[in-house]
């Protein structure tokens, strides 16, 4: 079902997203598949219970039987009986630096599997910094762990995003889960998208605020919650909320969808709410200069109260940042859990981020960054269009560099991962309960480092495996 919202005043570019419905026959066969696996799961549990089959999982000793059970055995039913059968598709150690191609370790200690290795050239600045400062900080930002390179990085991030000030953290997940409790607390209301990342969910829960969930990327649902919140106030006392914080992500990596930011900003201005934007996947990947979803829609970054992002995806590093007004950052520097307890970001990682961010901004005197951003956008549109022409069901926005391709049946999750690996292509596959039961999928992450030849080879392999596994379900075949 295509959404093309180009109402003149809000969107500066076509906004096209598609979420084709699961074919009914495929849905029925998917439930049947899960039913068969569940029945055999119970059979296996029965055999383990009666010692017919050797049990490899942790369990209490006989003497401990009278205590409260340590292991919730039913809670691990899926892990034990479904995930274990195809977990080789997930636990695959990578033994090279991230890039367009990388090495995988063959599980059975077999020969290292060549994946046409061309790892990133590790630049010398990081080596120098590693020798000079070591690999860890061993202290927090508020004590000995605050170095000039950190401050330089934060100035660079602030100028990259076009805001007053920024603050960097050593871990992306912690950036959300440790700072949201510093921003909201009792008497506050958090409006969260239903498909938000676990770190946002954890941060919202830790804050003690009241949490209400709106449908994914659905502005009517968000406006209804805002209206209710303003009109009715807090439950029982009906006092007005101290503050209302809207939590959204720039790109939802599981859906491949892009937030409808112009509408969210319009709503937050109308109802005087605060906006927290998590750009984990969109920073460095969207917008003509890679400044994320704010630049992609041509909006003003001052309209977003709290800008958060990570350095993992597009900067080949780790950690996260929070950016916004200076008083916000000063407040977080003194009140954030991460600033007080967590060790600050290691210097080699800081160096890597500074190097790659300067490259993207063009401050290193080259146009590599700009051309990479352009290449990424072209690769994305090309890859998505070709997959759709082949007949696969692709979710999300045309411009999102994360491309979910639907697999549906549980057995096809494992089969797809294995068949692709046989042909030297690494893919990420995701199934229930991380996705709805009838929406298992594979996710492709497009990189600017991919050449057209690489993309074509990957597309040919995907088409071949798609024919083998019968994955070309789409009924809206796009004519080439």
């Amino acid at each position: 079902v295509y959404h093309a919202a180009c109402n003149g005043e809000l969107y500066s570019r076509p906004f096209i997203e598609s979420f084709e419905e699961t074919p009914m026959l495929v849905a029925v066969l998917t439930y049947m598949g899960y039913g068969i696996l569940t029945i055999f799961g119970y059979l296996r549990d029965f055999m383990r219970e009666w010692k017919i089959e050797k049990c490899h999982i942790a369990r209490e000793r006989e003497e401990q039987k009278d205590f409260v059970p340590l292991y919730q055995d039913f809670e691990n039913f899926y892990t034990r009986n479904l995930y274990m059968r195809i977990r080789d598709s997930w636990n695959r150690p990578i033994c090279s630096v991230p890039g367009a191609t990388f090495d995988l370790v063959e599980r059975h200690l077999g020969p290292e599997q060549e994946n046409n290795t061309t790892s990133l050239t590790v630049l010398s600045p990081k080596m120098r910094v590693t020798v000079k400062f070591g690999v860890g900080m061993a202290s927090t930002r508020q004590e000995m762990g605050n170095l000039d390179r950190h401050e330089e990085l934060e100035k660079l991030v602030a100028s990259f995003l076009g805001v007053e000030s920024a603050m960097a953290f050593g871990m992306g997940f912690a950036t959300n889960s440790m700072n949201i409790p510093a921003l909201a607390g009792k008497g506050c209301l958090i409006l969260s998208d239903e498909l938000n990342h676990a770190s946002l969910v954890l941060g919202a829960r830790l804050s003690g605020s009241t949490i209400r969930v709106f449908k994914h990327n659905n502005m009517q649902s968000l406006e209804r919650l805002l209206r209710d919140a303003i009109v009715h106030g807090q439950p029982r006392t009906h006092r007005p909320w101290k503050k209302i914080l809207i939590l959204v992500e720039g790109i939802y990596s599981m859906e491949g969808s892009i937030i409808r930011l112009p509408e969210v900003i319009a709503l937050k201005k109308k109802y005087k709410a605060y906006l927290y934007l998590d750009e984990a996947h969109s920073i460095g990947a969207l917008g003509p200069y890679g400044r994320g979803v704010v630049e992609y829609f041509g909006l003003d970054s001052k309209d977003v109260d709290v800008m958060m992002g990570t350095f993992t995806k597009s900067f080949g590093a780790a950690g996260g940042y929070i950016a916004g007004r200076k008083d916000l950052i000063d407040y977080l520097l003194t009140h954030s859990h991460s600033a007080i307890y967590a060790t600050s970001m290691p210097l080699p990682v800081v160096e890597q981020i500074i190097t790659s961010m300067k490259c993207i901004m063009g401050k290193d005197g080259t146009t590599i960054g700009r051309s990479r951003i352009q290449r990424l956008a072209e690769n994305t549109v090309y890859f998505r269009r070709r997959l759709r022409e082949m007949g696969f069901i692709i979710y999300g926005n045309n411009d999102s560099p994360v491309v979910p391709m639907m697999l549906y049946m549980p057995a096809k999750i494992g089969a797809f991962g294995r068949e692709m690996l046989k042909r030297n292509i690494g893919v990420v596959v995701v199934g229930f309960p991380a996705t709805p039961i009838i929406e298992s999928r594979a996710r492709f992450c497009i990189s600017a480092a991919h050449t057209k030849e690489m993309l074509d080879r990957a597309l040919d392999v995907i088409s071949e495996v798609g024919d083998l596994l019968q994955l070309k379900y789409s009924r809206h075949k796009v004519l080439p």
Binding site: V28, T38, Q72, F74, E75, Y78, P433
Partner: protein, 130 residues
């Protein structure tokens, strides 16, 4: 329980169970209907009202661990479409089984007992009652 195709799958599954039982040569039609009704109700009782928790880890810090599937349905909201459909399907099968067993007393008692065993736990008054 309200995702796409789940009710069609459920109907096909019950139909499949009935056909398998019909295929057993020495079962008569009334016996097959009563067996379909009893096996289905027993399976749904175990699945909906006996087993507690979720078969996978949920990020709700264990809130659902002590709730049965029926209590977790639609976050505990009563009289939703899923709940109503589920309850009506039991009643339909009960009427069909009574009809096809020609209201024979023995079958009627068995079917009625089986129906009550799955209908009583569905009452809103028994939500969370142990």
């Amino acid at each position: 329980m309200n995702s796409r195709g789940i009710w069609l799958t459920y109907a096909l599954g019950v139909g499949m169970l009935h056909i398998v039982l019909l295929s057993i040569p020495f079962f008569s039609v009334p016996v097959v209907w009563t067996l379909t009704n009893v096996i289905h109700n027993f399976g749904m009782y175990v699945f909906m009202h006996a087993v507690k928790g979720t078969p996978f880890e949920t990020p709700d810090q264990g809130k659902a661990r002590l709730l049965t599937h029926w209590e977790q349905l639609d976050y505990g909201v009563q009289f939703t479409s899923s709940r109503c459909c589920n309850t009506c399907s039991f009643l339909c099968r009960y009427f069909l089984a009574s009809f096809y067993t020609k209201y024979d007393t023995a079958h009627f008692v068995i079917n009625t007992a089986s129906l009550l065993s799955v209908l009583i736990p569905k009452l809103p008054q028994l939500h969370g009652v142990r």
